[in-house]
């Protein structure tokens, strides 16, 4: 690019000329290191890229298949390089290097002279010398062009094979699986990810990946690839077996791109790689090599982080600073096809006399191993498969030489008996690396806080910590909060960044100021647009306070998907339909209608734990028609989607049962009719039992009622679910009227006071004064608010409407349920298969391939 004007020619005579060959992630990092430092104006930088585009994010290459475009993967743009004053040439493969004249020449026959030359030529995928490896649909996985070719090839086939079961190979397997192909991995070694994992870890990884539908073949050496019968290719293996496939991806390791050095006489390693010293200098003092083409201490680092370190070292050395490359940590944590995998340091326990602790849980499918020093004091390595929760703290132990606790095994054992020994932020030395992507230490974070960055956002912006892989975000937050705590800064408990209040405070504001919409609330008491935390919280408060139709235009944007579409969203984006069946009592006629609707719309049908019928698999656009049928038959919404009253479970009581002492059925129906539609901080469940045999399991419910000889016993704040809690006895032998009064007051008190998404059980446990205080309020009117609580409940009861009835009667609201605003089609990704004579969502590998992945035009935004 000989476009320099005269003035810059003059300047350039005093500037040092730097030529960088290669514009991958490492080459680009080098350019940034040099340009963004003081003294950048002293350098005249030219970048020569053999590819047709500037640097892009190769680490996240596979996200291309989940919709990321080439432009979005880009690490820089022509404009950015112009702004930095960096000249660049694309499609400029360097073919000759003259060390004496200090020039390089490209295939286009352009020459560039340099004072310092940086080789960042990277590596290329190794394709094993198998006969037939150059057939059509035999590809590699390295560049954006490779991905486009894979996508193209995958559309024409059904089966794909990846040769190589290392880290990249498994990524590639995930990619072709996402493209809808039957996927196989063929590995020469006896296990997967042999570099990072030990045998047991590799085995578990294999079984987990096989469970996901990828077939793994180990100890297979491919002899020849020939024509297949059913597929494009037939791979014949040394053991006499074979495999047919349409597409083959080679991912059997990398080889350094060192041919320039090879042809023009720079020192090379025995098996390739350009030899560099601790300054990343090659055998020629004016030529540096960094990244995957460089061989340091007889080792090639195939990860980006060490490459970045080399880039920094080389840039520093050119600037005259003495920084050294002394090796790099090869620990990794990643998710492969949804399986968590982590490897730290000496994973294989090769250190003499090292000792291992392993923990394997075949039920939970987790495997953990730590390798410790002979004296048991230091962590040398670790392997984690299926659960990498401990990765961050283990890495800190390993990298910073922190002394291990007395029983190192406690670091990987499940915390059955109390907490694990936590590696507190306190115990880390200031030199501890918190973010290894950007090499940010605890000391850097402390400095940043002292410079006034007292919000996590500011901190990540200025240090870049946790903006790489994000794996350190929990640790970063821990360090941040500990350091703030030390400085006496209060950690805020606000609802979110839009409101400096908690839910209870917002409830009082809304009631006191008669606020009817989110808009009014945020403009008066908040800031910004709101978010997924405050919007549903405020929607719930508004509903508890005023009980408007929740699909009023002003309320629509506040609702979670379940509320906005009045159904429960399931994993595939379809919804479930649950008609209300008060007390579990239903006529045969209504049962028949439910059955007919389920049959007509082919819905999966199940009786719920709360005595109702769940109909699954309704597409968005089918919901209004389905509900019209149910409402015409006299049913109404069951609010199965809302943070509201779900069911009142019941037994038949003294009407039918030999033991019943009260009419529990009538009471259950009465309570369900009374409180249906009530919006609350968390969903609510009730039950009424007709005697102490407790067939309705009332003591595990938010409100439990149990019949006695003399009336009703009221139980409160019980909880099934994840954290079960037995309900507390609140009052005994109540008559019908008092029972309802107490429930009115108790529920409304909870709705006013509780935190966002707080269950009645947790609320009661956190309530100052606990059960006794709640009793004093509800029974003894200690706060004098009982009339108010009852009146508020009465207003809710009186303003009840079936939201589905209101919705289907309004054509404008029905429109909201269209899948597409401009087409009557259905979502082609919603696909079902039949199991036990009913539908269920199709798994990824059962779906018809092709259509669902958006195709991306890879030529867009190509630099010109």
């Amino acid at each position: 690019m000989n476009t320099s004007v005269v003035t810059s020619e003059k300047q350039s005579s005093t500037k040092q000329k730097i030529v960088v060959i290669g514009n991958g992630m490492v080459g680009h990092h080098f350019v940034e290191q040099l340009c963004l430092s003081a003294g950048a104006q002293d350098y005249d930088i030219t970048v020569l890229s053999a590819e047709s585009r500037l640097a892009y994010d190769r680490v996240h290459l596979s996200s291309y298949f989940s919709g990321k475009s080439a432009a979005e993967l880009a690490l820089t743009t022509p404009e950015h390089y112009h702004k930095l004053g960096v000249k660049f040439e694309l499609d400029a493969k360097v073919v000759s290097l003259n060390k004496n004249d200090k020039t390089v020449t490209t295939a286009g026959n352009k020459s560039f002279s340099y004072d310092k030359l940086v080789l960042a030529t990277g590596s290329y995928p190794f394709v094993p010398p198998i006969e037939g490896n150059d057939r059509q649909h035999c590809l590699v996985y390295r560049t954006i062009e490779d991905l486009a070719a894979i996508e193209h090839s995958a559309r024409q086939g059904k089966v794909g094979v990846v040769v190589g079961g290392g880290l990249l190979g498994l990524e590639a397997a995930n990619a072709i699986k996402q493209l809808g192909l039957e996927t196989h991995v063929v590995e020469f070694a006896p296990q997967l990810m042999g570099v990072q994992l030990d045998k047991s870890g590799g085995q578990l990884l294999r079984s987990m990946i096989e469970d996901l539908g990828v077939q793994v073949h180990t100890e297979k050496a491919t002899k020849i690839i020939t024509d297949g019968q059913d597929c494009n290719h037939k791979m014949e293996f040394a053991d006499g077996t074979h495999l047919e496939t349409d597409l083959i991806l080679f991912s059997a390791g990398i080889r350094p791109y060192d041919n320039l050095a090879r042809e023009f006489d720079l020192a090379l390693g025995e098996r390739g790689g350009i030899v560099v010293d601790n300054h990343c200098q090659t055998s020629d003092q004016d030529i540096y090599a960094i990244g995957e083409c460089a061989l340091w201490n007889n080792f090639i680092f195939g990860l980006v982080a060490p490459g970045y370190q080399m880039a920094k070292v080389a840039a520093a050395h050119i600037k005259g600073e003495d920084k050294q490359f002394t090796g790099a940590d090869m620990s990794t944590k990643l998710k492969l096809m949804g399986v968590d995998v982590g490897s730290i340091g000496d994973a294989h326990g090769k250190t003499p006399q090292a000792r291992c602790y392993t923990y394997e849980n075949q039920v939970a499918q987790t495997y953990k191993k730590i390798v410790v020093s002979p004296d048991g004091k230091h962590l040398l390595g670790a392997v984690l498969v299926g659960d990498t929760e401990d990765y961050d703290s283990l890495l800190q132990y390993a990298l910073n030489g922190i002394e291990l606790p007395e029983m190192p095994e406690s670091l990987i054992l499940p915390s059955l008996l109390g907490e694990k020994p936590a590696l507190g932020a306190e115990s880390l030395p200031d030199s501890a690396t918190i973010c290894s992507c950007h090499n940010v230490t605890k000391g850097d974070i402390i400095t940043a806080i002292d410079e006034g960055n007292t919000e996590l956002k500011q901190l990540t912006a200025c240090t870049k910590a946790s903006t790489g892989c994000g794996g350190c975000s929990a640790l970063l937050k821990n360090v941040f909060e500990t350091e703030l705590g030390k400085r006496g800064v209060e950690v805020k408990k606000d609802l979110c960044q839009h409101f400096a209040y908690n839910r209870t405070e917002l409830f009082h504001i809304i009631k006191a100021e008669q606020i009817k919409t989110f808009e009014q609330l945020i403009s008066k008491h908040g800031s910004g647009l709101g978010c997924e935390i405050c919007k549903p919280t405020v929607a719930s408060i508004l509903a508890s306070a005023w009980n408007d139709y929740i699909l009023e235009d002003a309320h629509i944007p506040l609702q979670d998907t379940n509320d906005i579409y009045l159904g429960n969203m399931q994993k595939d984006g379809t919804y479930s339909v649950v008609p209300r069946i008060p007390g579990g009592e239903i006529t045969p006629d209504k049962l028949i209608v439910i059955g007919e609707v389920a049959k007509e719309y082919n819905l999966y049908t199940k009786i719920t734990g709360g005595q109702r019928i769940d109909l699954f698999g309704a597409r968005l656009e089918q919901l209004p028609e389905i509900w019209k049928r149910l409402i015409d038959a006299g049913m109404e919404t069951g609010h199965a989607y809302g943070k509201s009253l779900r069911t009142v479970k019941s037994c038949v009581g003294d009407t039918w049962c030999r033991y019943g002492v009260q009419d529990s059925m009538s009471m259950a129906i009465f309570l369900e009719e009374r409180y249906k539609g009530l919006r609350s901080p968390h969903k609510l469940k009730f039950a009424v039992s007709g005697c102490t045999r407790e067939c309705a399991e009332a003591q595990s419910k938010d409100i439990g009622v149990i019949a006695t000889e003399h009336g009703w016993n009221l139980y409160v704040s019980g909880n099934g679910g994840m954290k079960p809690r037995h309900a507390d006895l609140f009052a005994t032998d109540l008559d019908d009227k008092t029972l309802v009064q107490y429930i009115d007051r108790y529920l409304m008190f909870y709705i006013r006071m509780a935190d966002r998404l707080q269950r009645t059980s947790v609320w009661l446990e956190n309530l100052e004064g606990g059960l006794e205080y709640a009793k004093s309020v509800v029974i003894d009117n200690h706060l004098g608010i009982n009339d108010e609580l009852e009146a508020q409940m009465q207003a809710i009861v009186a303003s009840y409407q079936c939201e589905w009835k209101t919705t289907i009667e309004n054509p404008e609201k029905v429109k909201r349920f269209r899948q597409f605003v401009n087409s009557g089609k259905s979502d082609s990704n919603v696909q079902f298969v039949t199991e036990r004579a009913q539908i269920r969502p199709a798994r990824e590998e059962e779906k018809h391939p092709g259509e669902r992945i958006p195709t991306i035009d890879i030529t867009e935004n190509r630099p010109v």
């Binding site: 978010c531 997924e532 998907t561 906005i564 605003v821 979502d827 990704n829 669902r852």
Partner: protein
């Protein structure tokens, strides 16, 4: 594939829901989630949630994070920037972002 992109007219401005999303179909099988924010700005990103693996982003709650306008997926709540498609909760993920405009009250998407 061609380099040409077209403005697709998908619906009337009145079909949009203030501060919430709708979904449109373009290019035969491409689902686009369209959002009207503050009654004036209109944004579009792919409807496909790459984490939940379903076409649902148009049905999420919108909001802002320090001024960055986003939609939170209704499945697992990851937030996606409406101005870039970038996932605010997972740096490695970006969904496609489409330039969008309102011309003569018609909503148009460039793709």
């Amino acid at each position: 594939m061609a380099n040409n992109k077209n403005w697709h007219t998908v619906c009337h401005k009145q079909d949009l829901i203030a501060d919430a999303g709708i979904c449109a179909l373009i290019n035969r099988d491409e689902q686009v989630a369209i959002f009207l924010i503050n009654n004036e700005q209109v944004y579009s990103i792919a409807n496909w949630d790459p984490i939940g693996r379903a076409n649902v982003l148009s049905r999420g709650i919108t909001g802002d994070e320090q001024g960055e306008i986003f939609v939170a997926s209704p499945l697992y709540k990851q937030r996606y920037s409406l101005t870039s498609g970038h996932c605010l909760d997972d740096d490695s993920i970006t969904v496609r972002h489409y330039p969008t405009r309102i011309e003569n009250e018609q909503v148009q998407i460039l793709a």
